[in-house]
């Protein structure tokens, strides 16, 4: 009898120290389907799939592929069985082009590299899936979406009949996600099974044939497409808490009508920034942000949003124009002096630019504030007592899950790290908050928390400049949205004029 399940994981248990990451988890995925694996951060999704891929070994449990019991000790074993995994962070060799990356580790001949043959094979797979990407460009020069395609092709080239995608949409924009979905559909038609790990309900609804929901290391339920509803999935994911969600499965927040300040907190006047590498920089950008409003800047990654964020806190990057905060020009100020004028910042890439990985939460909260009077004695010594107080206040106000402010920040989850970064922005009085993709990669509960903090800032009369590539999010929290494309401002919309189609089209230059 033909087995209809390709993968069966039975009674998997995995313990890290004292933490039970997976508790008696049983998971099956049928042949030729896209099977979602849904759960908030830390629910055990990645752990489960890393066990299947051989990166972790389970403390208990069995793995069956095609009905046969298998033993997987390393990715070497899983690749042989036909399992491929695309991780959240690119594992390509940046100096190699697509073909070199794809064939890495496959040629059997020790001395000859059959690059022409392999290239033909790679092209064939690409054609079958309707994927196109340059084969001869070093992968470090390619955008995230393309790198991901290369990783998928690499897994297929190694003969994968099961493809695991770990949070594949983290660095994709809407149109890239659509394209990914199309390719996955083509794959499934050829009989490949796809496991799609995500914490976004919207993506599960749009892409999966069935879904397994994990919560705190336990399977909540497995349901088919017909029975999937937003409300049901939210309930399974969070159980104890009822949160309101919008059409796009994002948390709902209220923007009460308040009077914005008479004078703008921040005036950006005709600024220009020279672009680095492929980016075109910024050309003649002007806008104003008032107290009591959230001013959204919508931009597809690579259209100048990075330059805008950097120039706001590091005005030495400006080649032209001026930025005024509370009426004073900050053009000639250093980053620390800009912060001292009441500007706060949360960067886009929270791990790379946001935190001191091995540093404690306390050291992290202090970053950027360490030259303020409150934290500096005699202009020389750090006042660690004040720093401890500030860190404890942040932990309390922002519900950071940690035993102490001395804990190394890298041991926190992504959501808690973002809370610390957000808390750091409010350690000192803040007139203008510049925040770049504040919710990327976070689960709905944390997103709701961050949204509420931004709105609270606005309601208290603060000015918020939120640069974001997720238009759905901006439409929920912004009072106004400006569109940035190719380094130019393509219009500013009032909340009453928000229209997803119209703004989305401007974002891609239509």
């Amino acid at each position: 009898m033909e087995n209809k399940n390709l993968v069966e994981l039975k009674n998997i248990r995995k313990v890290f120290g004292k933490v039970i990451a997976l508790d008696n988890v049983t998971f099956t995925a049928a042949k030729g389907e896209i099977h979602g694996l849904l759960g908030e951060n830390g629910a055990g999704k990645s752990t489960l799939m890393n066990i299947l891929y051989g990166l972790y070994s389970p403390n208990k449990g069995e793995i069956y592929i095609d009905g046969k019991k298998v033993r997987i000790d390393s990715p070497f074993d899983s690749i042989k069985i036909g399992i491929g995994m695309v991780h959240q962070i690119s594992t390509l060799v940046p100096e190699f082009n697509a073909v070199e990356n794809i064939i890495l580790g496959t040629p059997k001949d020790k001395f000859k590299l059959p690059i022409k043959e392999e290239r033909r094979k790679v092209k064939k797979i690409m054609e079958e899936l309707g994927l196109t990407f340059p084969l001869d460009v070093k992968t470090k020069e390619l955008p995230a979406g393309v790198k991901q395609k290369i990783e998928i092709i690499r897994a297929l080239h190694k003969g994968a009949k099961l493809l695991i995608l770990d949070e594949p949409t983290t660095s994709l924009v809407e149109s890239e996600f659509r394209q990914l979905l199309k390719s996955l559909r083509a794959l499934v038609k050829k009989g490949v099974t796809v496991i799609f790990i995500t914490h976004k309900i919207k993506e599960i609804m749009e892409s999966c044939d069935s879904v397994t929901v994990l919560r705190r290391g336990k399977v909540q339920d497995t349901i088919d497409k017909e029975q999937m509803t937003k409300e049901k999935l939210v309930k399974l994911m969070f159980m104890e808490k009822d949160i309101k969600v919008t059409e796009s499965a994002l948390p709902k927040v209220e923007l009460p009508a308040i009077k914005r300040s008479k004078k703008p907190v921040c005036i950006v006047k005709n600024i220009e920034v020279k672009g680095k590498e492929k980016s075109k920089g910024l050309k003649n950008i002007s806008f104003e942000v008032y107290g009591g409003e959230i001013f959204g800047v919508a931009s597809v990654s690579g259209n100048g949003e990075k330059e805008l964020a950097s120039a706001m806190i590091n005005p030495s990057l400006l080649s032209n124009g001026d930025i005024l905060v509370n009426g004073e020009s900050i053009k000639h100020l250093s980053t620390l002096s800009v912060f001292n004028k009441g500007v706060a910042y949360t960067p886009e890439d929270r791990i790379k630019e946001g935190i001191l990985n091995d540093g404690s939460i306390k050291e992290n909260v202090l970053l950027g504030h360490h030259t303020e009077k409150r934290f500096l004695e005699k202009n020389l010594f750090i006042n660690w007592n004040e720093a401890t107080k500030a860190a404890r206040k942040t932990i309390k106000d922002y519900n950071v899950a940690t035993p102490s402010e001395e804990l190394a920040i890298r041991r926190l989850s992504g959501g808690n790290i973002q809370k610390v970064i957000m808390g750091r922005a409010f350690v000192s009085p803040t007139d203008l908050l510049i925040t770049h993709n504040p919710t990327s990669g976070l689960d709905v509960l944390t997103v709701e928390f961050i949204f509420n903090k931004l709105v609270e800032t606005r309601n208290n009369g603060g000015a918020v400049l939120c640069i974001n590539e997720d238009l759905d999010e901006l439409m929920i929290i912004s009072d106004r949205i400006a569109v940035l494309h190719n380094g130019e401002l393509k219009g500013i919309f009032q909340r009453s004029e928000f229209n997803k189609y119209k703004i989305g089209l401007l974002m891609i230059g239509g």
Binding site: T335, V338, F339, Y345, N357, G359, E363, L367, H370, P403
Partner: protein
């Protein structure tokens, strides 16, 4: 209250764990050393006893150990501080020589003015610090302004410093006419630091340096900035810390400490500038400073203990050669084995490679 206990317990287990790892590494290293000694036909118990206990058996052994610990502390810091922001200062050797040479030259030039000790000694100490700081800062400057790899620049600056020693030691202005070798005239007695029960007074400066480095790194703004850059350069820069300035300052500080170490060697141990200073003590402390720092994974707090431990080995090794005629190569071999095994064991057993 309860929370605090948990943290302290955590620290204690961490300390015990770390000690047991060092113990394991030493055990394996001494095991291997024993095998080699046995193969060479020497008595293993005698050799091990000599290697480990020479420093503690006699007053002389202990004094020798302290004499070696002091300069090692300085050169180890010279490597450790730039290493905190992931740069290699191979130049502690040159910075030490430059400090020592500057002290000898200035000390002899102003020697006839009849300045009293309480002016002469602080003055020369400052000269040594400034000279070393200049030599270190220059490598940092080359990195910050022209992106020149400090490994290259510090090695080159070492060579220049060696030649500078030769230049001063052979120049007619400074050379002792009574000596056949290139050696300067002795420094005036007002410039000489004495001994207290054969322990050099330079130990006071070493203790001050330990306190200084601790306060600098743990309590000051600059220390926080250095630590932050070490943790994550991108984040530190994003939040306004000036990376170029931090590079120059770490090399300046490292150089200053090595320069002080060199000054103290000249003022306390040699009493004059000997050409051999470049090859024997300078090179030895320069290289062993790097090893000592790596043994404690570049952790500044571990430096004094590690330097003392290394000095025990150095003294024990000298004794091996002197009393048992075990070839000197054997001595280097055992030191290398110990350092390698500590590094390997730590990488293997400690998460994050001991950080």
């Amino acid at each position: 209250m309860k929370k605090k206990n948990i943290i302290q317990n955590g620290l204690l287990t961490k300390l015990l764990r770390s000690l047991s790892l060092y113990g394991l590494a030493l055990l394996i290293a001494f095991g291997l050393i024993s095998v080699i000694i046995a193969l060479l036909g020497f008595s293993v118990p005698d050799a091990l006893k000599t290697l480990i206990t020479t420093s503690f058996k006699s007053a002389f052994g202990f004094q020798e150990t302290i004499k070696k610990t002091i300069p090692l502390i300085f050169t180890t810091y010279a490597f450790t501080i730039p290493f905190m922001i992931k740069f290699f200062n191979i130049g502690a050797w040159g910075q030490m020589l430059f400090g020592g040479t500057a002290v000898a030259a200035v000390g002899l030039l102003i020697g006839n003015f009849g300045l009293p000790s309480f002016i002469m000694i602080p003055l020369l100490v400052v000269v040594g610090i400034l000279a070393g700081a200049l030599w270190g800062w220059f490598a940092g400057f080359l990195k910050a302004k022209y992106d020149i790899n400090p490994i290259i620049s510090t090695i080159m600056l070492n060579f220049v410093a060696v030649l500078f020693v030769n230049f001063i030691a052979t120049s007619p202005t400074f050379k002792d006419p009574l000596e056949g070798h290139p050696i300067t005239r002795p420094l005036p007695s007002s410039a000489i630091l004495g001994f207290f029960h054969k322990i050099p007074y330079s130990i006071i400066f070493a203790i001050l340096a330990i306190i200084f480095v601790y306060i600098l790194l743990k309590k000051t703004k600059l220390g926080y900035e250095i630590t932050s850059v070490g943790y994550n350069l991108h984040a530190a820069q994003t939040y306004g810390i000036n990376f170029q300035r931090t590079i120059m300052l770490t090399f300046l500080l490292g150089g200053a400490l090595a320069g002080l170490g060199g000054a103290l060697e000249v003022m306390n141990i040699h009493g004059k500038l000997i050409e051999g200073f470049a090859k024997t003590s300078g090179a030895q402390y320069g290289v062993f400073g790097i090893l000592t720092s790596l043994v404690v994974a570049g952790s500044p707090t571990g430096v004094p203990v590690a330097a003392f431990f290394m000095a025990v080995l150095l003294v024990g090794a000298d004794a091996l050669q002197r009393t048992m005629q075990i070839p000197v190569e054997m001595v280097f071999l055992s030191q290398a084995l110990i350092v390698l095994l500590i590094v390997i064991i730590r990488k293997k057993f400690e998460p994050n490679g001991g950080k």
